[in-house]
C-alpha cells in the first residue's frame, strides 16, 4: 500500500507536482496518465526517492519513505523503465540476479528464481548468457521486468515501460506481462501517456495535468462520467494521437 499526502515538488523554475494526495491499495494497478510534463514521472520517482519531495509525505506499507535509507527502500520496490534500463555489460542471467545479489541471496536460490521467472515470462533458456544488445526490444522489456520482480517486491514502479516498443509488440508484451499471476498480487504504479494502455491495464487511473490530479477513477467510471471537459477531451483524443 502506498499513501501519498500533500506531495509537492518544486524545481528551480517551476512546480512539477502540487499538493498531490493519493492512496494506492495493495495489489492494485494504478496508472498515472497525462501529457508530457504533467508531473506523473516526478510523482513516481518520489515514491522510490529518485527525486526527493519538497514537502508532503509518502508512506510505503505504513512507513515514511524519508525515514529509511534510499537504497534499502529501492531494493524492496521493483523499478522498470523504458527499454528495460538494462546494464549493457550484464548478461540476462546477471541482470535478473542483480537485486537478489544486493540482498545476499545464495546462488542456489538465485538460480531457482531465475528459472522460475524466465519460464513465466516465456524467455528461452539460451537467452541467459546473452547481453542486452543481442536481444529484441520485447525481450529486453521482459528481462527488465524479470529484474524488477526477482525479489518478489510488494510494489513495482513502471515508467513508460513499453514506450520503446512498436505498437504491435507493445500490445503483445503488455498482455503477456499483465497476465502474470506474479503481477496480479503486486501493487503496480505505471506511468504512461497512452490512453488505450491505461484503459487496458489499470484498476484505477489517476489523470494528471499541470502537477495536479484531475480525476481518479476506474477506467469505466472515467469514460462514463468524466469530471471535466479536460478529462473527456483527453480520453476522446485517443484515435487522433499520432505518436502512439
Amino acid at each position: 500500500m502506498i499513501e501519498i499526502r500533500n506531495l509537492t515538488k518544486r524545481f528551480a523554475s517551476y512546480t512539477a507536482v502540487f499538493d498531490l494526495s493519493l492512496t494506492i491499495a495493495q495489489g492494485e494497478t494504478l496508472v498515472l496518465l497525462g501529457t508530457s510534463g504533467c508531473g506523473k514521472t516526478t510523482t513516481l520517482k518520489m515514491v522510490n526517492r529518485l527525486i526527493e519531495p519538497t514537502s508532503g509525505s509518502i508512506r510505503v506499507d505504513g512507513v515514511d519513505v524519508m525515514k529509511q535509507a534510499a537504497f534499502e527502500l529501492r531494493r524492496r520496490i521493483g523499478y522498470v523503465i523504458q527499454d528495460g534500463g538494462l546494464f549493457p555489460h550484464y548478461t540476462v542471467a546477471e541482470a535478473i540476479a542483480t537485486v537478489p545479489k544486493l540482498l545476499d541471496w545464495g546462488p542456489e536460490m538465485i538460480r531457482e528464481r531465475t528459472n522460475e521467472l524466465i519460464n513465466k515470462l516465456r524467455l528461452p533458456q539460451t537467452l541467459l548468457a546473452r547481453y542486452p544488445a543481442e536481444l529484441s526490444g520485447g525481450q529486453r522489456q521482459r528481462v527488465g521486468l524479470a529484474r524488477a520482480l526477482a525479489v518478489r517486491p510488494s510494489i513495482v514502479l513502471m515508467d513508460e515501460p513499453f514506450g520503446a516498443l512498436d505498437p504491435f509488440t507493445r500490445r503483445q508484451v503488455r498482455r503477456e506481462l499483465f497476465g502474470l499471476n506474479e503481477l496480479r498480487e503486486t501493487t503496480v504504479v505505471l506511468v504512461t501517456h497512452d490512453v488505450s494502455e491505461a484503459l487496458e491495464l489499470a484498476d484505477r487511473i489517476a489523470l494528471m495535468d499541470a502537477g495536479r490530479i484531475v480525476q481518479v477513477a476506474t477506467p469505466d467510471a472515467l469514460l462514463t462520467s468524466p469530471a471535466s471537459d479536460f478529462v473527456r477531451d483527453f480520453l476522446d483524443d485517443k484515435p487522433h494521437r499520432l505518436h502512439d
Binding site: F71, L73, I81, F87, H89, L102
Partner: protein, 518 residues
C-alpha cells in the same frame, strides 16, 4: 644497413639495458599516473564544478614542452630518475584523468538511473556499472598516455635517467646515424608495440576487458621492476656528456690510455656541473676553460699520459673568404696568443656566473688588450658570416670577433650562433653557409680528419705538432685555413669536487684509476 646491424650487434647489451630502462620508466610513470589520475577522474565526475579546473591544470601541464618541464623540475628534484619520472607522470595525467571523467560521465543516464532505482548504493553504481562501462574509454586514455610516455622517455637521457634516449642523443652529438637509429628504432617499435597491445585489449568485450585491466595493472609493477634492476655502481659515480662518452678522443681514449673502466651515467653537458656540485655524481667530463671550474671549486685531474689531445682554439676560415677579404685574416690574427687558459676561464666565469653579457665581457677584454675600436659609422656592404657552437666560450669568442672585425674593418658581421656540434659547424663552413668559426685543433683532428691509428701513433700529441698537422690537412683537403691560435687550450678533462679529490688523494687521472681499482 650492415653498419647499423653491426652497431646493434656490438652494443646489444647496452641496447637491451636501455630498452628495459625505457620500458621501466614508462611503466613506473604510467602506474603513478593511474594511481592518481583514475581517482581524480572519478572525483571530478562526481563534483562537476571541479572538472574544469582539474582538467585545465592537467591540460596546461601537457602543453609545457618536455625539455622546459625537465628544466623546471631539475632545481627541485635534482638529476636522474626524479625529474624524468615526474615529467612522464605529469604528461600521462591528462589523458588518464580526462578519459576516466569522460568515460564515467558518458555512461547512459538511464542506465545510471536504473542502477540507483533498483537499489545500488553510490559506491555500487560506481564499481558495478560506471567503471566497467567506462573501461574502454579509460583504456583509450592509458593507451594515449603510454604512447606519449614512450616518446617523452627518450628525454630522460638528458638528466642521466637512461633509456633509449642515450643512443639518440649521443648519436646526434656525434653525428653517428647508426647510433641514433639504434635508439630511435627500438623506441618507435616500443611505442607501436604498446599501442597495438593496448588497442587489442581495448577491443575486448566488457567482460574480458575487466580481466584484461586486472592483468594490465598486475603487469605494471613487473614492468616497472626493470627500472630497479641492480645497476652496476662504481665507488665514484661518473656523469659524462653524451658526446664525450662516444667521441674517440673522449671516454674511449681514456679507456685506451689508462685502462679506466667506469659505468658512467650519461647526462646533458649543461646539467653535468649541477650534478657534480650537488654530489649526485663525483666525476664529470668537461672543458678545461669552463667558468664553472672556478665557480664550483672543481679540480681538473691532470692528464699525465696525454689521453686527451691538445685543443688549441683558432679561427678556421674558408680560403675563398680570405682571398676575397685579405683584411679579415690580418684582423683575426691580431688576437693570436692574447687569450691564455686563465684569461679564457675568467671570461667564461664572468658570463656564466657573474651573469655579464658576452658583449660587455668581449668589449672589456678587447679594451684591456688595446684592440677595441669603436666601429665607425659607415656603409657596410660586404658581409662575413661567422658561426659558433652552443656553449658560453663560443658565444664570447663570437662576440670578440664581431667587435674586433667591425672596429678594425669595413666588413659587416652576421653571426650564426647555435650550430649544434662540430659536424654541423664544419658542414656549414665547407658548404659556405658560414665563412669562419672558432675551432679546436684536437677536435679538427679527431672528429673531422679522423686519421688512421697508425698516423695518430706517429703524431706527437704536442700543441705545435697537432696544429701544424691539422692546418696542413685542412688546407689540402678542404681549402680551409686555420689562422693563428688564440693561446688557450680548451681540452677535454675529467674533474672532481676539489674537497673530495683532496680527501681521496686524487690529483691525476692515473690516481683515479688506481683508486677505482683498489
Amino acid at each position: 644497413m650492415t653498419d647499423f646491424l653491426t652497431f646493434v650487434r656490438e652494443h646489444a647489451d647496452k641496447l637491451l639495458e636501455q630498452t628495459l630502462t625505457h620500458i621501466g620508466l614508462t611503466a613506473v610513470s604510467l602506474l603513478l599516473a593511474l594511481l592518481l589520475g583514475v581517482p581524480l577522474g572519478i572525483l571530478i565526475s562526481r563534483r562537476s564544478r571541479l572538472a574544469g579546473s582539474v582538467l585545465g591544470i592537467a591540460g596546461v601541464l601537457q602543453t609545457v614542452p618536455s625539455v622546459a618541464l625537465l628544466g623546471f623540475l631539475i632545481p627541485v628534484l635534482g638529476i636522474g630518475v626524479g625529474p624524468a619520472l615526474m615529467a612522464l607522470f605529469l604528461y600521462a595525467l591528462l589523458p588518464i584523468i580526462r578519459n576516466t571523467y569522460v568515460g564515467i560521465t558518458e555512461v547512459d543516464a538511464s542506465v545510471k538511473e536504473a542502477a540507483r532505482g533498483i537499489g545500488m548504493t553510490n559506491r555500487q553504481v560506481l564499481t558495478k556499472v560506471e567503471l566497467p562501462l567506462a573501461l574502454p574509454v579509460i583504456f583509450a586514455g592509458v593507451r594515449t598516455a603510454t604512447v606519449i610516455n614512450v616518446g617523452v622517455a627518450t628525454l630522460a637521457a638528458y638528466v642521466a635517467a637512461g633509456g633509449l634516449g642515450e643512443f639518440i642523443f649521443s648519436g646526434i652529438a656525434l653525428s653517428n646515424v647508426n647510433m641514433m637509429m639504434a635508439g630511435a628504432i627500438p623506441a618507435a617499435l616500443l611505442a607501436i608495440g604498446f599501442d597495438v597491445a593496448l588497442a587489442s585489449l581495448q577491443r575486448l568485450s566488457v567482460r574480458k576487458l575487466r580481466i584484461g585491466a586486472v592483468a594490465f595493472i598486475a603487469l605494471m609493477p613487473f614492468l616497472s621492476a626493470f627500472y630497479w634492476l641492480p645497476i652496476q655502481q662504481d665507488k665514484l659515480i661518473a656523469g659524462f656528456a653524451h658526446e664525450f662518452y662516444g667521441r674517440a678522443d673522449g671516454y674511449p681514449g681514456l679507456q685506451k690510455t689508462y685502462g679506466l673502466n667506469l659505468h658512467p651515467r650519461l647526462i646533458d653537458q649543461n646539467l653535468m656541473y649541477e650534478a657534480i656540485r650537488s654530489g649526485q655524481v663525483d666525476i664529470i667530463s668537461g672543458y678545461s676553460t669552463d667558468g664553472r671550474i672556478q665557480a664550483f671549486d672543481l679540480l681538473v685531474l691532470a692528464d699525465n699520459r696525454h689521453a686527451f689531445p691538445p685543443y688549441d682554439a683558432a679561427p678556421m676560415v674558408r680560403q675563398v673568404t680570405l682571398n676575397r677579404f685579405p683584411e679579415l685574416g690580418q684582423t683575426l690574427n691580431l688576437l693570436a696568443g692574447k687569450l691564455t687558459d686563465s684569461v679564457m676561464t675568467a671570461l667564461n666565469y664572468q658570463v656564466d656566473y657573474e651573469k655579464q653579457s658576452p658583449e660587455s665581457v668581449a668589449r672589456t677584454f678587447l679594451t684591456r688588450v688595446g684592440l677595441y675600436k669603436r666601429p665607425e659609422p659607415r656603409q657596410r656592404s660586404e658581409t662575413v658570416v661567422m658561426g659558433s657552437k652552443v656553449f658560453t666560450e663560443q658565444y664570447i669568442l663570437a662576440e670578440i670577433y664581431r667587435q674586433l672585425i667591425e672596429g678594425q674593418t669595413s666588413l659587416r658581421v652576421v653571426t650564426k650562433t647555435g650550430l649544434g656540434g662540430t659536424q654541423i659547424c664544419f658542414d656549414a663552413l665547407r658548404t659556405g653557409a658560414i665563412d669562419f668559426y672558432p675551432e679546436y685543433t684536437g677536435t679538427g683532428l679527431l672528429v673531422i680528419l679522423q686519421p688512421s691509428a697508425h698516423t695518430l701513433a706517429n703524431l706527437s700529441m704536442q700543441s705545435d705538432s697537432i696544429y701544424d698537422y691539422v692546418q696542413h690537412q685542412f688546407h689540402q683537403q678542404y681549402q680551409l685555413n686555420w689562422l693563428k691560435p688564440l693561446g688557450f687550450n680548451n681540452s677535454y678533462c675529467l674533474m672532481m669536487r676539489r674537497d673530495q679529490a683532496k680527501q681521496l688523494g686524487i690529483k691525476t687521472i692515473e690516481d683515479l684509476v688506481n683508486y677505482m681499482e683498489r
